[in-house]
């Protein structure tokens, strides 16, 4: 597939259509819009909502390892199940869920290229009934910390002048967005970006139909802006969802070995007392 470094992590809509009744496969829909699954979904697919399911309801953090085990067990996912993720907005939240499944050590993960929009555009079936599967006894691994960055990691990264990718829109990057009239303040006291970060909006990695761009175009996009595979890289956005998309592209489609997602992202950094911030767009 398109010369990607790890083509096995992507499946196309034909593959999914051929595996709807495969007991070794579980399809998960994760959307930005929390009602979309309920309007119709791929037959047999289960819903994992990023907000109500993947976040701890009290602390700002993900669900715990025990919660993750309970989630997978209740969805009938065994440790050897192949889990296929898809969703709206070019798989933005599907990839976030993929990232979290890697964090807790689930081995066999796939993303359906093109996501929900492509499946729908091809007039493939959508159903409204919620499936249920026999419960499993899922065992999660200890969190894979090498794919997650905390604020201390970002600060060290900054001091070592290592590359950061800010995947938000240019106006969020420059700091202009917090000053636009009529917009609710989106959770940060300060606008701008982490000094030295390169702005490569996540959506630049996808094509019109929602599928990922081919490897040569992706390589040119990131390497052309100094984001190369020989370096340690941290990606961030507003709350860590869009940056998991870029993490996926760099890690799996281009094979960059050391990429981390800073899930605290701007809603943490833009509120941290004393954290260095840069505004505007570098010349």
């Amino acid at each position: 597939m398109e010369n990607y470094s790890h083509p096995e992590v992507l499946v196309d809509t034909d593959w999914v259509a051929a595996h709807l009744n495969d007991p070794g496969v579980r399809i998960i829909e994760s959307d930005e819009d929390p009602l979309l699954y309920d309007t119709g979904h791929i037959p047999g697919a289960v819903k994992v909502d990023w907000f109500t399911t993947l976040q701890d309801p009290v602390r700002r953090d993900f669900l715990t390892r025990a919660d993750f085990e309970e989630l997978c067990s209740s969805l009938g996912i065994a440790n050897d199940t192949t889990v296929v993720f898809y969703g709206d907005k070019s798989n933005w939240f599907a990839v976030y869920t993929f990232w979290l499944f890697e964090y807790y050590g689930h081995p066999s993960r796939r993303v359906m290229d093109g996501g929900r929009a492509k499946w729908t555009a091809e007039n493939r079936p959508l159903v409204s009934e919620r499936p249920s599967y026999p419960r499993t006894q899922y065992k999660a691994s200890a969190p894979e910390m090498s794919i997650r960055a905390f604020r201390e990691d970002v600060l060290r990264h900054l001091e070592r002048r290592l590359p950061l990718v800010d995947v938000r829109s240019p106006k969020e990057f420059s700091g202009e967005l917090l000053h636009m009239p009529g917009y609710p303040q989106e959770g940060a006291q300060r606008g701008g970006h982490i000094p030295g970060a390169v702005n490569i909006p996540w959506s630049q990695a996808v094509q019109e139909d929602g599928t990922f761009k081919a490897a040569p175009a992706l390589r040119e996009l990131y390497a052309g802006l100094g984001i190369t595979p020989d370096q340690e890289i941290i990606a961030y956005c507003r709350i860590g969802e869009r940056s998991s998309h870029t993490w996926f592209v760099l890690r799996y489609l281009l094979g960059y070995p050391r990429v981390r997602n800073y899930d605290g992202s701007w809603t943490e950094w833009g509120n941290l007392v004393g954290a260095p911030i840069e505004k505007g767009i570098p010349a």
Binding site: E32, D33, P34, L35, L36, D38, T39, F51, T52, P57, D88, K89, R116, A117, T120, M180, G182, Y183, P184, E186, G187
Partner: protein
């Protein structure tokens, strides 16, 4: 907490319906509104009458007209955004026919009583505030005209 500010009668009923629902039932109710999202009236389709609602991630357009002494708002929201469709549909059901003064009196945080905060992210909830803000802007313009 008691609320002294009066909402338009229909909107008050809708908010009370949400208050009575628990957990996932609230989302079911919002989905009902999304499913009953009315088609955009053809006579308001012209570009001069449509205005953008700059709401995060979802392209939303709105038009308004006065008829029978009350304000009527109409929204165009893509089907792949059912949550925003639900918001817009319940706003239309709740406030259409109200006087501009009544629309302007709706507290900016009226929707908090619906209890969606544990089900929808804060950015999602902001969408409701954005829609109300735009509706109010239009109501203020109508009031100035009269």
């Amino acid at each position: 907490m008691s609320q002294t500010v009066r909402l338009p009668r229909r909107l008050e009923e809708i908010v009370a319906d949400f208050e009575l629902c628990e957990g996932q039932e609230k989302l079911e109710l919002l989905l009902d509104y999304a499913r009953r999202f009315p088609p955009f009236p053809a006579h308001l389709q012209s570009p001069g009458q449509l205005e953008d609602v700059p709401e995060c991630m979802t392209p939303v357009q709105m038009a308004a007209e006065v008829s029978g002494g009350g304000l009527h708002f109409y929204f165009d929201v893509p089907p792949e955004s059912p949550t925003v469709r639900g918001y817009a549909a319940l706003m239309m059901a709740g406030i259409n026919g109200s006087l501009p003064e009544e629309v302007l009196a709706i507290p900016a945080d009226f929707y908090l009583r619906m209890g969606l905060g544990s089900l929808l992210s804060s950015q999602r909830l902001n969408g409701m505030a954005a829609i109300l803000a735009h509706v109010k802007r239009r109501a203020a313009a109508e009031l100035e005209k009269s």
